[in-house]
Symmetry: C2
């Protein structure tokens, strides 16, 4: 496809990108399904390999496509990795508070847990609470505190049955842990055990306001640290 043949149309690699997406949709492919090779795509779409590759790289950044060197190209995991990378960069670029990424982030995470208190407490089963307890025990023993903390909150919102909330929770956690150190936000872990136990206790008694308060109490020191780091 010589450039002359597509006057007036948009950028070629953009069209190629759209056509690859369309190909996945039309063929009902699923994450992990193999895609045609670069050369096959070149022939099928009538574009040079460079254009096809640039289009693939674009889709790769969105986790719509995943490329394995020497192996092939596959449908991606459709994760929120792009959101993580984008927000992380935003957070690193604007420590001078042009964007209050960190505090906004924490606010949303808190909202996910506090605002869904009724549903969380209502559908929380005994086994879930035990798992939460086990994670706090792990934190108390000082084993992989960060991982346990992350798993705790993931588990907390899991009963909501909302995959988007779960993935956003994870994504925001990733962004926070990536950005906070660069902004001089300390990672105080003294009260974490107590604060998490309070959340569990409130969930056990199925006391909605107590649960909401415990969640707020949990995030309060974090907000304080962020506010302090700004000054």
């Amino acid at each position: 496809m010589t450039p002359n043949e597509r006057i007036g149309r948009s950028l070629l690699r953009q069209e190629v990108s759209e056509r690859i997406k369309r190909y996945i949709l039309d063929n009902r492919l699923r994450p992990g399904s193999p895609l045609p090779t670069e050369n096959e795509l070149c022939a099928a779409l009538g574009a040079s390999r460079s254009s096809v590759r640039e289009a693939i790289k674009t889709l790769g950044a969105l986790d719509i496509v995943e490329v394995r060197h020497g192996h092939g190209t596959y449908v991606g995991g459709l994760s929120l990795s792009a959101l993580v990378e984008g927000l992380t960069f935003r957070g690193l670029l604007g420590p001078d508070d042009e964007f209050g990424v960190l505090s906004d982030l924490v606010e949303v995470r808190e909202l996910f847990e506090r605002g869904n208190a009724a549903k969380i407490v209502g559908t929380l089963e005994e086994s879930h609470v035990d798992e939460l307890d086990a994670l706090v025990d792990q934190m108390a023993r000082g084993e992989d505190i960060v991982a346990a903390d992350r798993a705790f909150h993931a588990l907390l919102v899991q009963p909501l049955g909302n995959a988007l909330v779960s993935q956003l929770t994870d994504a925001f956690w990733d962004v926070y842990t990536a950005v906070a150190p660069h902004l001089g936000v300390p990672t105080d872990e003294n009260d974490t055990v107590v604060l998490h136990r309070a959340i569990i206790a409130a969930a056990r008694t199925a006391n909605l306001t107590a649960f909401a308060d415990a969640v707020i109490a949990h995030y309060t020191p974090i907000r304080t640290r962020i506010a302090a780091a700004r000054a």
Copy 2:
């Protein structure tokens, strides 16, 4: 940089991508700031133009960088466009409910408004309420109902002062309007005026529970439509 010189290291375009991000961070560039030309980047980073371009395309997909044909490359707007494209594709790929993208989406939007009722009602000023009213008037007149609806909800969460919530609200709206038609979800607009007026009325009286109920009532028909479209 001949391939031999970087054995063991990761992909070149990935390194180039990281170095471009670092360049922006180190030089405290802001959205709209110009970046070096492709050839300058080639020279500075010691990579071929193809590799540099693929790296730039990756960053472009994340809106970290923006490329203008024939003009130059600039720092991007750091928007959530990547999230929109990713979620939209996910929604289109999984109408068979592998991902319940649409319902998850609406649930989060509702949570943003309902869960922050206290803060919204508390900080809502007279002028804001008037603007909300004006938007509903516009909807009642049938002028650009979709745009007015979108503006309404954007304005509703604005007093939160949380840029992330505002942008996620916008992003989710975009995804919904892009995905819903393809899934056969009808866009009934009969009750919208009444339902939006109820939200305003509750906000005016500063009645928190009434506000939350009005928000729930507003989203109920949407959830019903999504559920119906699944069956």
